[in-house]
């Protein structure tokens, strides 16, 4: 996540309605998922961007997680996500998010 993006997300997250905010990811693999999830929950691990030392603490989900997929009408999910579900590493992505949520 680049520094400009970090700044934008920080400003948005500091807006009203924070208690209703969640982050929905569409990252393609385990490592990119873990990196963004870490940045948004614990702060920028490189200590270079606006989120350095700023744990936003927003709930983070990935569109491929089962609990998210179940919340979305199946026709919409099939149209928007469709075959990518079979191509991307769903297990790895889910495991990465579970690990970040557990603070590991």
């Amino acid at each position: 996540m680049d520094l400009e993006e970090q700044g934008t997300i920080k400003r948005v997250a500091e807006g009203s309605g924070r208690d209703r905010m969640i982050v929905l990811l569409g990252t393609p693999n385990k490592s990119s998922t873990a990196m963004i999830a870490l940045t948004l929950t614990q702060g920028d691990p490189s200590y270079a961007g606006p989120l350095a030392g700023v744990p936003l603490g927003l709930p983070i989900y990935h569109i491929l997680e089962l609990e998210v997929r179940e919340a979305i009408p199946s026709d919409v999910y099939a149209r928007e996500v469709g075959p990518l579900e079979d191509v991307l590493d769903v297990e790895g992505i889910s495991a990465a998010l579970k690990s970040v949520r557990a603070g590991r």
């Binding site: 996540m1 569409g26 569109i63 928007e80 990518l84």
Partner: protein, 43 residues
């Protein structure tokens, strides 16, 4: 299953994964309001 109704969603897509507009369409169809959408590109 998470409840997306009335949630304020930051949709962070990626070009090599699921793009932001697709996340936005999914979230809105489940009753959420998307307040920020992006599609990152690391290539």
């Amino acid at each position: 299953m998470i409840d997306l109704r009335d949630k304020l969603v930051l949709a962070l897509g990626e070009r090599d994964g699921i793009p932001g507009p697709a996340l936005e369409a999914c979230a809105e169809s489940a009753g959420a309001k998307v307040i920020y959408t992006t599609t990152q590109c690391f290539a």
